[in-house]
Protein backbone atom coordinates (compact mmCIF):
# COMPACT_ATOMS: atom_id res chain seq x y z
CA UNK A 1 0.00 0.00 0.00
CA UNK A 2 1.15 3.55 -0.67
CA UNK A 3 0.88 6.26 1.93
CA UNK A 4 -2.79 6.61 2.97
CA UNK A 5 -2.23 10.03 4.54
CA UNK A 6 -4.15 12.83 2.84
CA UNK A 7 -6.18 10.40 0.75
CA UNK A 8 -9.88 11.19 0.87
CA UNK A 9 -12.33 8.97 2.67
CA UNK A 10 -13.83 8.01 -0.68
CA UNK A 11 -10.43 6.90 -2.00
CA UNK A 12 -9.52 5.04 1.18
CA UNK A 13 -12.91 3.39 1.22
CA UNK A 14 -12.44 2.17 -2.33
CA UNK A 15 -9.01 0.78 -1.47
CA UNK A 16 -10.58 -1.09 1.45
CA UNK A 17 -13.55 -2.31 -0.56
CA UNK A 18 -11.37 -3.70 -3.33
CA UNK A 19 -9.00 -5.36 -0.88
CA UNK A 20 -5.99 -3.27 -1.92
CA UNK A 21 -5.46 -2.25 1.65
CA UNK A 22 -6.52 -3.74 4.96
CA UNK A 23 -8.30 -1.66 7.61
CA UNK A 24 -5.68 -2.73 10.17
CA UNK A 25 -2.98 -1.20 7.99
CA UNK A 26 -4.81 2.12 7.63
CA UNK A 27 -5.80 2.30 11.27
CA UNK A 28 -2.25 1.51 12.41
CA UNK A 29 -0.85 4.28 10.22
CA UNK A 30 -3.19 6.90 11.67
CA UNK A 31 -2.84 5.68 15.27
CA UNK A 32 0.93 6.06 14.92
CA UNK A 33 0.45 9.58 13.58
CA UNK A 34 -1.98 10.51 16.34
CA UNK A 35 0.55 9.40 18.95
CA UNK A 36 3.57 10.92 17.26
CA UNK A 37 2.22 14.18 15.85
CA UNK A 38 -0.89 14.76 17.98
CA UNK A 39 1.05 16.40 20.84
CA UNK A 40 2.72 18.82 18.41
CA UNK A 41 -0.68 20.34 17.67
CA UNK A 42 -2.32 19.75 21.08
CA UNK A 43 -4.87 17.94 18.95
CA UNK A 44 -5.61 14.83 20.94
CA UNK A 45 -7.09 14.05 24.33
CA UNK A 46 -7.14 10.25 24.11
CA UNK A 47 -5.73 7.88 21.51
CA UNK A 48 -7.89 4.76 21.51
CA UNK A 49 -5.33 2.29 20.18
CA UNK A 50 -6.61 -0.93 21.75
CA UNK A 51 -10.26 -0.38 20.88
CA UNK A 52 -9.41 0.89 17.40
CA UNK A 53 -7.24 -2.10 16.58
CA UNK A 54 -10.01 -4.46 17.67
CA UNK A 55 -12.54 -2.59 15.54
CA UNK A 56 -10.15 -2.56 12.57
CA UNK A 57 -9.66 -6.31 12.82
CA UNK A 58 -13.42 -6.80 13.10
CA UNK A 59 -13.91 -4.65 9.98
CA UNK A 60 -11.33 -6.70 8.10
CA UNK A 61 -13.05 -9.94 9.10
CA UNK A 62 -16.46 -8.64 8.05
CA UNK A 63 -15.26 -7.39 4.69
CA UNK A 64 -13.46 -10.65 4.02
CA UNK A 65 -16.73 -12.45 4.82
CA UNK A 66 -18.55 -10.31 2.25
CA UNK A 67 -20.28 -7.98 4.68
CA UNK A 68 -19.06 -4.63 3.38
CA UNK A 69 -20.94 -1.82 5.09
CA UNK A 70 -20.04 1.11 2.84
CA UNK A 71 -17.39 3.76 2.25
CA UNK A 72 -16.62 4.36 5.95
CA UNK A 73 -16.01 0.69 6.70
CA UNK A 74 -12.58 0.29 8.26
CA UNK A 75 -11.80 4.03 8.06
CA UNK A 76 -10.46 5.64 11.26
CA UNK A 77 -11.73 8.95 12.57
CA UNK A 78 -11.53 11.26 15.55
CA UNK A 79 -14.40 12.72 17.57
CA UNK A 80 -14.52 16.05 19.35
CA UNK A 81 -14.28 15.29 23.05
CA UNK A 82 -17.79 16.45 23.84
CA UNK A 83 -19.30 13.27 22.42
CA UNK A 84 -19.94 10.63 25.06
CA UNK A 85 -18.02 7.41 24.61
CA UNK A 86 -18.20 4.31 26.71
CA UNK A 87 -14.57 3.30 26.21
CA UNK A 88 -12.72 6.57 26.83
CA UNK A 89 -13.07 9.61 29.09
CA UNK A 90 -15.16 12.52 27.78
CA UNK A 91 -13.66 15.73 29.07
CA UNK A 92 -15.58 18.52 27.31
CA UNK A 93 -12.11 20.08 27.06
CA UNK A 94 -12.06 20.82 30.78
CA UNK A 95 -9.56 19.71 33.42
CA UNK A 96 -12.57 19.35 35.69
CA UNK A 97 -13.71 16.31 33.71
CA UNK A 98 -10.34 14.81 32.78
CA UNK A 99 -11.38 11.36 34.04
CA UNK A 100 -15.16 11.53 33.60
CA UNK A 101 -16.70 8.54 31.84
CA UNK A 102 -20.14 7.91 30.42
CA UNK A 103 -21.74 4.48 30.28
CA UNK A 104 -23.13 5.01 26.79
CA UNK A 105 -22.07 6.21 23.36
CA UNK A 106 -23.43 9.34 21.73
CA UNK A 107 -25.78 8.60 18.85
CA UNK A 108 -23.23 9.92 16.34
CA UNK A 109 -20.57 7.56 17.68
CA UNK A 110 -23.02 4.65 17.45
CA UNK A 111 -24.07 5.54 13.92
CA UNK A 112 -20.48 5.77 12.75
CA UNK A 113 -19.74 2.40 14.35
CA UNK A 114 -22.76 0.96 12.53
CA UNK A 115 -21.29 2.34 9.29
CA UNK A 116 -18.05 0.51 10.08
CA UNK A 117 -15.92 3.58 10.91
CA UNK A 118 -13.23 3.08 13.55
CA UNK A 119 -13.01 5.58 16.41
CA UNK A 120 -9.27 6.21 16.79
CA UNK A 121 -9.16 9.25 19.08
CA UNK A 122 -11.04 11.75 21.16
CA UNK A 123 -9.92 15.13 19.88
CA UNK A 124 -9.15 18.34 21.73
CA UNK A 125 -11.59 21.20 22.08
CA UNK A 126 -11.93 24.51 23.83
CA UNK A 127 -13.31 23.96 27.33
CA UNK A 128 -17.12 23.80 27.30
CA UNK A 129 -17.03 24.48 23.56
CA UNK A 130 -16.00 28.07 24.06
CA UNK A 131 -19.20 29.43 25.50
CA UNK A 132 -17.67 30.67 28.72
CA UNK A 133 -16.08 33.77 27.24
CA UNK A 134 -12.50 32.76 26.35
CA UNK A 135 -10.51 35.43 24.58
CA UNK A 136 -7.31 33.60 23.66
CA UNK A 137 -6.45 30.09 22.55
CA UNK A 138 -5.15 28.71 25.86
CA UNK A 139 -8.55 27.58 27.11
CA UNK A 140 -8.41 23.80 27.16
CA UNK A 141 -7.00 21.04 29.32
CA UNK A 142 -4.79 20.08 26.36
CA UNK A 143 -3.42 23.58 25.84
CA UNK A 144 -4.03 25.93 22.93
CA UNK A 145 -4.96 24.31 19.61
CA UNK A 146 -1.93 24.62 17.34
CA UNK A 147 -2.33 25.28 13.64
CA UNK A 148 -0.49 22.76 11.42
CA UNK A 149 0.17 25.51 8.87
CA UNK A 150 2.02 27.65 11.40
CA UNK A 151 2.67 26.24 14.84
CA UNK A 152 2.80 29.72 16.34
CA UNK A 153 -0.83 30.26 15.38
CA UNK A 154 -4.19 28.97 16.54
CA UNK A 155 -6.10 26.11 14.98
CA UNK A 156 -9.39 27.83 15.76
CA UNK A 157 -12.12 26.73 18.10
CA UNK A 158 -13.94 25.19 19.56
CA UNK A 159 -13.43 22.03 17.45
CA UNK A 160 -9.68 22.72 17.60
CA UNK A 161 -8.39 19.16 17.48
CA UNK A 162 -10.87 18.13 14.79
CA UNK A 163 -9.53 20.89 12.54
CA UNK A 164 -5.83 20.36 13.16
CA UNK A 165 -6.01 16.55 13.13
CA UNK A 166 -7.61 16.46 9.68
CA UNK A 167 -5.29 19.18 8.33
CA UNK A 168 -2.19 17.41 9.64
CA UNK A 169 -3.27 14.01 8.35
CA UNK A 170 -3.73 12.46 11.80
CA UNK A 171 -7.16 11.15 10.82
CA UNK A 172 -8.95 11.00 7.46
CA UNK A 173 -11.97 12.72 9.00
CA UNK A 174 -13.28 14.07 12.26
CA UNK A 175 -16.53 15.01 13.91
CA UNK A 176 -16.93 18.54 15.23
CA UNK A 177 -19.75 20.59 16.61
CA UNK A 178 -20.89 24.15 16.05
CA UNK A 179 -22.98 26.45 18.16
CA UNK A 180 -21.59 29.50 16.42
CA UNK A 181 -18.43 29.12 14.39
CA UNK A 182 -16.96 25.98 15.92
CA UNK A 183 -16.95 23.89 12.72
CA UNK A 184 -16.49 26.65 10.15
CA UNK A 185 -13.84 28.42 12.25
CA UNK A 186 -11.32 25.58 12.63
CA UNK A 187 -12.06 24.43 9.07
CA UNK A 188 -11.21 27.93 7.86
CA UNK A 189 -8.08 28.23 9.98
CA UNK A 190 -6.81 24.75 9.11
CA UNK A 191 -7.69 24.73 5.40
CA UNK A 192 -10.09 21.78 5.32
CA UNK A 193 -13.73 21.15 4.43
CA UNK A 194 -16.16 21.49 7.33
CA UNK A 195 -19.91 21.03 7.10
CA UNK A 196 -22.38 22.55 9.55
CA UNK A 197 -25.59 20.62 8.86
CA UNK A 198 -29.09 22.02 9.15
CA UNK A 199 -30.23 22.23 12.77
CA UNK A 200 -31.84 18.92 13.65
CA UNK A 201 -30.18 16.99 10.85
CA UNK A 202 -27.82 15.15 13.22
CA UNK A 203 -28.72 13.89 16.69
CA UNK A 204 -26.99 15.60 19.62
CA UNK A 205 -27.85 12.80 22.02
CA UNK A 206 -24.75 12.20 24.12
CA UNK A 207 -23.15 15.50 23.14
CA UNK A 208 -22.40 18.24 25.65
CA UNK A 209 -25.04 20.94 25.53
CA UNK A 210 -23.88 24.50 25.14
CA UNK A 211 -27.12 25.80 23.65
CA UNK A 212 -30.11 23.54 22.96
CA UNK A 213 -31.38 25.58 20.06
CA UNK A 214 -28.03 26.36 18.42
CA UNK A 215 -25.84 23.24 18.78
CA UNK A 216 -25.16 21.17 15.66
CA UNK A 217 -22.82 18.24 14.98
CA UNK A 218 -21.07 17.83 11.66
CA UNK A 219 -18.18 16.35 9.69
CA UNK A 220 -14.75 17.85 9.05
CA UNK A 221 -12.73 16.25 6.27
CA UNK A 222 -10.53 16.80 3.23
CA UNK A 223 -13.32 17.36 0.71
CA UNK A 224 -16.99 18.29 0.44
CA UNK A 225 -17.57 14.83 -1.04
CA UNK A 226 -16.18 13.23 2.12
CA UNK A 227 -18.42 15.47 4.23
CA UNK A 228 -21.38 14.16 2.24
CA UNK A 229 -20.40 10.54 2.80
CA UNK A 230 -20.04 11.14 6.53
CA UNK A 231 -23.26 13.12 6.86
CA UNK A 232 -25.05 10.27 5.11
CA UNK A 233 -23.94 8.01 7.95
CA UNK A 234 -24.73 10.30 10.88
CA UNK A 235 -27.92 12.07 9.77
CA UNK A 236 -31.37 10.97 10.79
CA UNK A 237 -34.13 11.19 13.34
CA UNK A 238 -33.37 10.02 16.85
CA UNK A 239 -35.97 9.55 19.56
CA UNK A 240 -33.31 10.50 22.09
CA UNK A 241 -32.99 13.97 20.56
CA UNK A 242 -36.43 15.49 19.94
CA UNK A 243 -34.89 18.28 17.86
CA UNK A 244 -33.94 15.87 15.09
CA UNK A 245 -35.86 16.13 11.87
CA UNK A 246 -37.77 13.43 10.05
CA UNK A 247 -36.66 14.98 6.75
CA UNK A 248 -34.58 12.25 5.09
CA UNK A 249 -31.03 12.82 3.90
CA UNK A 250 -29.27 10.76 1.29
CA UNK A 251 -26.02 12.07 -0.05
CA UNK A 252 -26.04 12.65 -3.80
CA UNK A 253 -22.52 13.14 -5.20
CA UNK A 254 -23.75 13.82 -8.73
CA UNK A 255 -22.31 17.11 -10.04
CA UNK A 256 -24.89 19.74 -10.83
CA UNK A 257 -25.92 19.65 -14.51
CA UNK A 258 -26.84 23.35 -14.50
CA UNK A 259 -25.26 26.64 -13.55
CA UNK A 260 -25.53 27.57 -9.90
CA UNK A 261 -27.16 30.73 -8.68
CA UNK A 262 -25.53 32.34 -5.66
CA UNK A 263 -26.24 35.43 -3.60
CA UNK A 264 -23.80 37.60 -1.70
CA UNK A 265 -25.24 39.66 1.14
CA UNK A 266 -24.50 43.34 0.64
CA UNK A 267 -21.84 44.36 3.15
CA UNK A 268 -20.90 40.79 4.09
CA UNK A 269 -17.21 41.63 3.87
CA UNK A 270 -17.48 44.86 5.87
CA UNK A 271 -14.97 44.66 8.69
CA UNK A 272 -13.39 41.52 7.27
CA UNK A 273 -9.60 41.29 7.32
CA UNK A 274 -8.04 42.49 4.05
CA UNK A 275 -6.46 39.26 2.75
CA UNK A 276 -9.53 37.28 3.72
CA UNK A 277 -11.65 39.68 1.72
CA UNK A 278 -9.29 39.62 -1.28
CA UNK A 279 -9.27 35.82 -1.31
CA UNK A 280 -13.05 35.76 -1.07
CA UNK A 281 -13.37 38.22 -3.96
CA UNK A 282 -11.06 36.00 -6.04
CA UNK A 283 -13.14 32.94 -5.15
CA UNK A 284 -16.33 34.68 -6.21
CA UNK A 285 -14.67 35.65 -9.49
CA UNK A 286 -13.65 32.01 -10.04
CA UNK A 287 -17.16 30.79 -9.30
CA UNK A 288 -18.57 32.98 -12.04
CA UNK A 289 -17.42 30.31 -14.50
CA UNK A 290 -20.08 27.98 -13.14
CA UNK A 291 -22.57 30.30 -11.46
CA UNK A 292 -24.61 33.44 -11.73
CA UNK A 293 -23.89 35.56 -8.69
CA UNK A 294 -25.77 38.60 -7.50
CA UNK A 295 -25.73 40.86 -4.49
CA UNK A 296 -28.76 40.74 -2.23
CA UNK A 297 -30.02 42.93 0.58
CA UNK A 298 -31.44 41.72 3.86
CA UNK A 299 -33.31 43.51 6.62
CA UNK A 300 -31.28 45.66 9.00
CA UNK A 301 -31.54 43.68 12.23
CA UNK A 302 -29.07 43.12 15.09
CA UNK A 303 -28.36 39.55 13.95
CA UNK A 304 -25.25 39.03 16.03
CA UNK A 305 -26.87 40.38 19.19
CA UNK A 306 -29.96 38.20 18.72
CA UNK A 307 -27.86 35.07 18.33
CA UNK A 308 -25.67 36.07 21.25
CA UNK A 309 -28.68 36.68 23.51
CA UNK A 310 -30.01 33.18 22.82
CA UNK A 311 -26.59 31.64 23.35
CA UNK A 312 -25.99 33.48 26.62
CA UNK A 313 -29.43 32.67 27.96
CA UNK A 314 -29.22 28.99 27.17
CA UNK A 315 -25.66 28.43 28.34
CA UNK A 316 -26.38 30.14 31.66
CA UNK A 317 -28.97 27.44 32.22
CA UNK A 318 -26.97 24.57 30.67
CA UNK A 319 -24.07 25.22 33.03
CA UNK A 320 -26.05 26.59 35.96
CA UNK A 321 -24.77 23.88 38.29
CA UNK A 322 -21.11 24.52 37.49
CA UNK A 323 -21.57 28.28 37.78
CA UNK A 324 -23.55 28.16 41.01
CA UNK A 325 -21.30 25.74 42.86
CA UNK A 326 -18.17 27.54 41.68
CA UNK A 327 -16.60 24.66 39.78
CA UNK A 328 -15.91 27.01 36.86
CA UNK A 329 -13.01 28.22 39.02
CA UNK A 330 -11.13 25.14 37.78
CA UNK A 331 -11.28 26.17 34.13
CA UNK A 332 -8.04 26.92 32.29
CA UNK A 333 -8.73 30.43 30.97
CA UNK A 334 -9.12 33.17 33.56
CA UNK A 335 -11.96 34.74 31.60
CA UNK A 336 -13.81 31.40 31.59
CA UNK A 337 -13.82 31.51 35.39
CA UNK A 338 -15.49 34.92 35.46
CA UNK A 339 -17.57 35.65 32.37
CA UNK A 340 -20.24 32.97 32.96
CA UNK A 341 -21.56 34.97 35.94
CA UNK A 342 -22.31 37.87 33.62
CA UNK A 343 -24.57 35.73 31.42
CA UNK A 344 -27.16 35.93 34.18
CA UNK A 345 -27.71 39.53 33.15
CA UNK A 346 -29.81 38.21 30.25
CA UNK A 347 -33.38 38.53 31.45
CA UNK A 348 -36.17 36.11 30.51
CA UNK A 349 -37.81 38.85 28.44
CA UNK A 350 -34.57 39.38 26.53
CA UNK A 351 -34.29 35.71 25.74
CA UNK A 352 -37.91 35.45 24.60
CA UNK A 353 -37.52 38.61 22.54
CA UNK A 354 -34.56 37.04 20.80
CA UNK A 355 -36.64 33.94 20.08
CA UNK A 356 -39.38 36.12 18.61
CA UNK A 357 -36.82 37.84 16.41
CA UNK A 358 -35.51 34.43 15.41
CA UNK A 359 -38.93 33.74 13.85
CA UNK A 360 -38.65 36.92 11.85
CA UNK A 361 -35.09 36.19 10.72
CA UNK A 362 -35.81 32.55 9.81
CA UNK A 363 -38.76 33.54 7.61
CA UNK A 364 -36.95 36.54 6.09
CA UNK A 365 -33.88 34.53 5.21
CA UNK A 366 -35.86 31.68 3.69
CA UNK A 367 -37.65 34.22 1.54
CA UNK A 368 -34.41 35.99 0.60
CA UNK A 369 -32.73 32.72 -0.34
CA UNK A 370 -35.55 31.46 -2.53
CA UNK A 371 -34.19 30.95 -6.03
CA UNK A 372 -30.60 30.79 -4.80
CA UNK A 373 -28.54 27.67 -4.34
CA UNK A 374 -26.49 29.30 -1.62
CA UNK A 375 -25.22 32.53 -0.16
CA UNK A 376 -21.46 33.02 -0.35
CA UNK A 377 -19.25 34.68 2.22
CA UNK A 378 -15.90 34.40 3.94
CA UNK A 379 -15.99 31.42 6.34
CA UNK A 380 -14.49 33.58 9.06
CA UNK A 381 -13.89 37.32 9.08
CA UNK A 382 -10.27 36.87 10.13
CA UNK A 383 -7.56 34.25 9.62
CA UNK A 384 -5.70 32.31 12.30
CA UNK A 385 -4.13 34.58 14.92
CA UNK A 386 -0.95 34.07 16.99
CA UNK A 387 -1.27 31.70 19.96
CA UNK A 388 -0.42 34.39 22.48
CA UNK A 389 -2.90 36.99 21.23
CA UNK A 390 -6.55 37.68 21.87
CA UNK A 391 -8.62 36.86 18.79
CA UNK A 392 -11.60 38.80 17.46
CA UNK A 393 -14.90 37.04 18.14
CA UNK A 394 -18.46 37.95 17.30
CA UNK A 395 -19.56 35.85 20.28
CA UNK A 396 -17.77 38.31 22.54
CA UNK A 397 -19.01 41.24 20.48
CA UNK A 398 -15.49 41.97 19.26
CA UNK A 399 -15.51 41.36 15.50
CA UNK A 400 -18.21 40.78 12.91
CA UNK A 401 -19.64 37.49 11.72
CA UNK A 402 -22.89 38.28 9.92
CA UNK A 403 -23.30 34.97 8.11
CA UNK A 404 -22.30 32.97 11.17
CA UNK A 405 -24.89 34.80 13.24
CA UNK A 406 -27.64 34.39 10.66
CA UNK A 407 -26.81 30.82 9.72
CA UNK A 408 -26.72 29.56 13.27
CA UNK A 409 -29.71 31.62 14.36
CA UNK A 410 -31.83 30.26 11.50
CA UNK A 411 -30.34 26.75 11.66
CA UNK A 412 -29.08 26.83 8.08
CA UNK A 413 -26.43 24.49 6.66
CA UNK A 414 -23.06 25.81 5.52
CA UNK A 415 -19.80 24.37 4.31
CA UNK A 416 -16.36 25.96 4.46
CA UNK A 417 -13.63 25.17 1.93
CA UNK A 418 -10.20 26.79 1.57
CA UNK A 419 -9.97 29.72 -0.84
CA UNK A 420 -6.37 30.91 -0.43
CA UNK A 421 -3.68 31.83 2.05
CA UNK A 422 -2.56 34.89 3.93
CA UNK A 423 0.90 36.42 3.79
CA UNK A 424 1.59 34.40 6.98
CA UNK A 425 0.90 31.19 5.11
CA UNK A 426 -2.30 30.23 6.89
CA UNK A 427 -5.48 29.37 4.98
CA UNK A 428 -8.62 31.39 4.50
CA UNK A 429 -11.97 29.92 3.54
CA UNK A 430 -15.19 30.55 1.69
CA UNK A 431 -18.55 29.36 2.92
CA UNK A 432 -21.60 28.23 0.98
CA UNK A 433 -24.69 28.67 3.14
CA UNK A 434 -27.83 26.95 1.91
CA UNK A 435 -31.52 26.88 2.63
CA UNK A 436 -32.61 24.49 5.35
CA UNK A 437 -32.10 20.84 4.39
CA UNK A 438 -30.19 21.73 1.20
CA UNK A 439 -26.93 20.06 2.18
CA UNK A 440 -26.68 18.26 -1.16
CA UNK A 441 -26.78 21.56 -3.02
CA UNK A 442 -24.07 23.26 -0.99
CA UNK A 443 -21.91 20.13 -1.13
CA UNK A 444 -22.23 20.11 -4.93
CA UNK A 445 -21.44 23.83 -5.07
CA UNK A 446 -18.35 23.48 -2.88
CA UNK A 447 -17.21 20.50 -4.95
CA UNK A 448 -17.68 22.55 -8.12
CA UNK A 449 -15.51 25.30 -6.63
CA UNK A 450 -12.79 22.78 -5.94
CA UNK A 451 -12.73 21.74 -9.60
CA UNK A 452 -11.68 25.34 -10.33
CA UNK A 453 -8.97 25.75 -7.70
CA UNK A 454 -6.27 23.68 -6.01
CA UNK A 455 -6.16 25.22 -2.54
CA UNK A 456 -7.58 22.03 -1.06
CA UNK A 457 -4.74 19.93 -2.49
CA UNK A 458 -2.08 21.69 -0.42
CA UNK A 459 -1.02 20.33 2.94
CA UNK A 460 1.03 21.81 5.77
CA UNK A 461 4.77 21.24 5.59
CA UNK A 462 6.13 18.82 8.15
CA UNK A 463 3.01 16.68 8.13
CA UNK A 464 4.17 14.20 5.48
CA UNK A 465 6.67 12.48 7.80
Amino acid sequence: MGNPVFLTVRTLGELVRTGQVAPVEIVTTFLDRLEKLGPRYNAVVTVMRDEAMKEAQAAADEIRAGRYRGPLHGIPYGAKDLLATRTAPTTWGAELFRNRRFDFDATVIRKLRDAGAVLAAKLSMVEFAGGMGYRQPNASLTGPGVNPWDTNRWSGGSSSGSGSAVAAGLVPFAIGSETWGSILGPSNHCGIAGLRPTFGRVSRHGAMVLSWSLDKIGPMALSPDDCGLILDAIAGADASDPSTTAQPFQYDPTPSPRRFRFGVIRGVTDGVEATTRANFDAAVAAMQRVADIEEISIAALPYEEITRTILFGELASAFEDLIEDGRIAALTALEDRVTPYSRMAVLAKDYIKALRLRSVVAADMDRAMRGFDALLGPSRPFPSTPLDEEFPSAIRGVGKDLMGAIGNLAGLPAISVPDGFTEHGVPTGMQFMGRAYNENIILAAASAYQTLTDWHLRHPSGTAE
Binding site: G133, L301, V338, T339, R356, R358
Partner: protein, 69 residues
Amino acid sequence: MADEKGYDEAGLTYAALMQHYGGRLSPEMAEMLRGAVDAVLKTVSPVRDVPLANGDAPLLGFAPVRTEE
Protein backbone atom coordinates in the same frame (compact mmCIF):
# COMPACT_ATOMS: atom_id res chain seq x y z
CA MET B 1 -23.68 54.11 33.53
CA ALA B 2 -27.14 55.39 34.47
CA ASP B 3 -29.66 56.33 31.81
CA GLU B 4 -31.41 59.71 31.68
CA LYS B 5 -33.84 58.55 34.38
CA GLY B 6 -31.02 57.55 36.67
CA TYR B 7 -31.47 53.81 36.16
CA ASP B 8 -28.08 52.07 36.18
CA GLU B 9 -28.84 48.54 35.02
CA ALA B 10 -25.20 47.58 34.59
CA GLY B 11 -24.26 48.88 38.01
CA LEU B 12 -27.21 47.19 39.70
CA THR B 13 -26.62 43.89 37.89
CA TYR B 14 -22.95 43.98 38.75
CA ALA B 15 -23.74 44.75 42.38
CA ALA B 16 -26.19 41.85 42.56
CA LEU B 17 -23.68 39.46 41.02
CA MET B 18 -20.94 40.67 43.34
CA GLN B 19 -23.20 40.23 46.34
CA HIS B 20 -23.88 36.66 45.28
CA TYR B 21 -20.52 35.57 43.86
CA GLY B 22 -18.04 38.31 44.74
CA GLY B 23 -16.46 36.28 47.52
CA ARG B 24 -15.07 33.95 44.88
CA LEU B 25 -13.45 36.66 42.80
CA SER B 26 -10.10 38.44 43.06
CA PRO B 27 -10.05 42.19 42.37
CA GLU B 28 -8.79 41.43 38.85
CA MET B 29 -11.66 39.00 38.28
CA ALA B 30 -14.19 41.45 39.70
CA GLU B 31 -13.02 44.06 37.23
CA MET B 32 -13.31 41.51 34.44
CA LEU B 33 -16.86 40.72 35.56
CA ARG B 34 -17.80 44.38 35.39
CA GLY B 35 -16.65 44.51 31.77
CA ALA B 36 -18.50 41.27 31.00
CA VAL B 37 -21.75 42.64 32.44
CA ASP B 38 -21.39 45.74 30.29
CA ALA B 39 -20.85 43.50 27.25
CA VAL B 40 -23.99 41.46 27.94
CA LEU B 41 -26.09 44.58 28.32
CA LYS B 42 -24.62 45.95 25.09
CA THR B 43 -25.78 42.71 23.49
CA VAL B 44 -29.35 42.78 24.74
CA SER B 45 -29.85 46.51 24.22
CA PRO B 46 -30.30 46.40 20.41
CA VAL B 47 -32.47 43.30 20.77
CA ARG B 48 -34.75 45.21 23.13
CA ASP B 49 -34.87 48.10 20.67
CA VAL B 50 -36.36 46.13 17.76
CA PRO B 51 -40.13 46.74 17.64
CA LEU B 52 -42.34 43.66 17.28
CA ALA B 53 -46.09 43.22 17.01
CA ASN B 54 -48.05 41.42 19.70
CA GLY B 55 -48.56 38.43 17.43
CA ASP B 56 -44.86 37.95 16.59
CA ALA B 57 -44.41 34.64 18.36
CA PRO B 58 -41.13 33.13 19.55
CA LEU B 59 -39.70 30.23 17.57
CA LEU B 60 -40.04 27.50 20.13
CA GLY B 61 -39.48 23.81 19.67
CA PHE B 62 -41.86 22.71 22.39
CA ALA B 63 -44.26 19.85 21.73
CA PRO B 64 -46.62 18.23 24.21
CA VAL B 65 -45.45 14.91 25.57
CA ARG B 66 -47.61 11.81 25.62
CA THR B 67 -45.88 8.54 26.41
CA GLU B 68 -47.50 5.17 25.82
CA GLU B 69 -48.85 3.53 28.95
